[in-house]
C-alpha cells in the first residue's frame, strides 16, 4: 500500500500538475493584482479610497473568483485528477507487469491498493491548484475577515455556509476536504476506464469527457449533483449530497472492478 501511494504521489504526472498549478496561479495572481490596482486607482479618484472589504483574500482565489483562469481550472480538474496515477493500471496491464503483482500479492489485494492510491493521488492533484491559490493570495492581500457587508457569500442558506463568516478557515478546510474527495472520485472514474482499455489517452480524458457530457445532457436541477458542480463554491451545494455522491462513486467503482477482475484470465 505504502509503495503504491509513494509511486502515485511522487510520479511525473504529479510534477506536471504542480507545474500547471504554479503557472495557472501565477497568471491568476498577476491578473487579479492588476485589476485590484486599477480598481483602487479609480476608487481613489472617485470616492476617496477603495472599499477595504474588497481586499479580503477569502473571496479572491482561483476557484471562486470569476476570471478566465478559474474557468480553465474548473474545466481541467478531471484531467488533473487522472494525471498522476489513474493510467498506471492500464500501463501495467499493457506491459504485463500486472501479472507479477497478482502472483506476489493477490488480485483483489492489488486492486484495492490501486484504488486507494489513485483516490489519494487524484484528490491531491485536483485540489492542489486551489490550495496553492488560497495560500498564495495571503502573500498579497492582508487578512480581512469576510462579512456580509462586502456582499461576498459562499454556500449561503446552509449551516456550513454560515461558517464562511464566522470561521472562514474552518469553512475552507471543510471545502478542501470535500474537494479532495470529489477529485479522488474523478481519478477513480479514470481507473475504472483503465480496467477496460489500455489506451492511456482514453483513460486520462475519460473523466473530463464524462463530466462535460453529463453537464450537457442533464437538466439544471440534476446538474448540481454532478461532482464538478459541487466544486463551485458559490452554489448552494449540500455537503450531505457530496458525501453520498462520493461514497456511491467509490462503492460503484470498487464493485464493478471486483466483479470484472474476479474471474478474469486475460489482461
Amino acid at each position: 500500500m505504502k509503495n503504491q501511494i509513494k509511486r502515485a504521489i511522487f510520479s511525473k504526472g504529479m510534477l506536471i500538475v504542480l507545474f500547471i498549478s504554479i503557472v495557472l496561479n501565477a497568471l491568476f495572481i498577476k491578473y487579479i493584482i492588476g485589476r485590484y490596482n486599477e480598481l483602487n486607482a479609480t476608487m481613489i479618484k472617485n470616492d476617496g479610497g477603495i472599499r477595504p472589504l474588497d481586499r479580503s483574500p477569502f473571496n479572491c482565489f482561483i476557484l471562486i473568483n470569476p476570471t478566465v483562469y478559474g474557468t480553465y481550472y474548473h474545466y481541467i480538474i478531471p484531467l488533473l485528477c487522472a494525471l498522476p496515477f489513474a493510467a498506471s493500471y492500464s500501463i501495467e496491464r499493457k506491459k504485463g507487469y500486472v501479472k507479477n503483482e497478482f502472483i506476489r500479492q493477490g488480485k483483489i489485494n492489488y486492486i484495492v491498493k490501486k484504488i486507494v492510491a489513485t483516490f489519494i493521488s487524484g484528490g491531491i492533484a485536483g485540489s492542489m491548484p486551489a490550495v496553492i491559490s488560497f495560500l498564495w493570495i495571503f502573500t498579497y492581500r492582508p487578512y480581512i475577515a469576510p462579512t456580509p457587508a462586502s456582499g461576498e457569500v459562499a454556500g449561503s442558506n446552509t449551516t456550513i455556509g454560515m461558517l464562511y463568516f464566522t470561521h472562514p478557515f474552518v469553512y475552507y478546510g471543510l471545502f478542501f476536504i470535500s474537494m479532495f474527495a470529489i477529485c479522488g472520485c474523478f481519478a477513480l472514474i479514470a481507473l475504472l476506464i483503465s480496467d477496460f482499455t489500455v489506451n492511456v489517452l482514453t483513460v486520462l480524458i475519460s473523466p473530463m469527457f464524462i463530466d462535460v457530457v453529463l453537464s450537457a445532457v442533464l437538466s439544471n436541477d440534476k446538474t448540481k449533483y454532478l461532482m464538478s458542480s459541487m466544486l463551485e463554491l458559490r452554489r448552494e451545494h449540500n455537503y450531505v449530497a457530496t458525501f453520498f455522491v462520493v461514497i456511491s462513486c467509490i462503492s460503484f467503482i470498487s464493485i464493478v472492478m471486483y466483479i470484472h477482475n474476479k474471474n478474469r484470465d486475460c489482461y
Binding site: 477595504p52 492582508p142 457587508a149 457569500v153
Partner: protein, 194 residues
Amino acid sequence: MKACTNKKIIIVIICFIAVVLYAVAVYRVNKNTPVVEYKTIEKGDEVTYKNYTIKVIDSKVYDLSELKKIYGIEDYEYKAPLEDEHVKCILTHMVITKNYEWTNDMDYEYSAINGEVSTSTWSNGIEGDLFYLINSDYTASEDKVGESYDVMVPVLALDIHYPEKMWNDLLGVPTYIVYEYNKEFGGIPRLMIN
C-alpha cells in the same frame, strides 16, 4: 542508505525555508496594511464623531415594495441585477446631531450618511435616491450646528445572497450598525449594517 537520508534532509530543509519565506511574506503584507477598526453602535447607543453625533433608535427590515407604500414613493425604481433576486431594505432610524459648520472639505462621514457616495454596505450600499426620497424634509433643510435631525438610513440588499439565519438576526432586536474606521484613507468611516 546514506544518500537516501541526505535526500530527505535536503527536502526537509527546502520545505522549512519555503514555510519561513511564506510566513515572512504573509507577515509583511499584514504589517503594512493599516489596522481596520470596527465600531459597533448598538440600538440605543450614541457615538460622537468629529462632525456628527449619531444615535441609533431602531432598525427594521422591509420588502422594498412595502417600504415604497409606506413612504408613498411608488415611482422609485430599482432593478435587481438578476430577475429572481428579491430586494429587501434595512431601514435604520437615527438621530444625527451636527457638530460642525459646513465647509468644502466636508468629511466623508457626512457623505456616507447622506447617501451621496456608494458605500461598502451590503451588496448595493445606501441608495442615494432612496435616501433623499425618504428624508426629503431633512435633505431640504439647512441643518444647523447643535440641532438634531431624525434620519432614516436605507440600505438595499438582495436576500438571495444572505443566509436565512442572518435575516433572522436582522429581524430580531440586536440589529446594529457598524462604522468601519479605516486609517489608510485618513479616517474615513463607512457605514455598514451587520
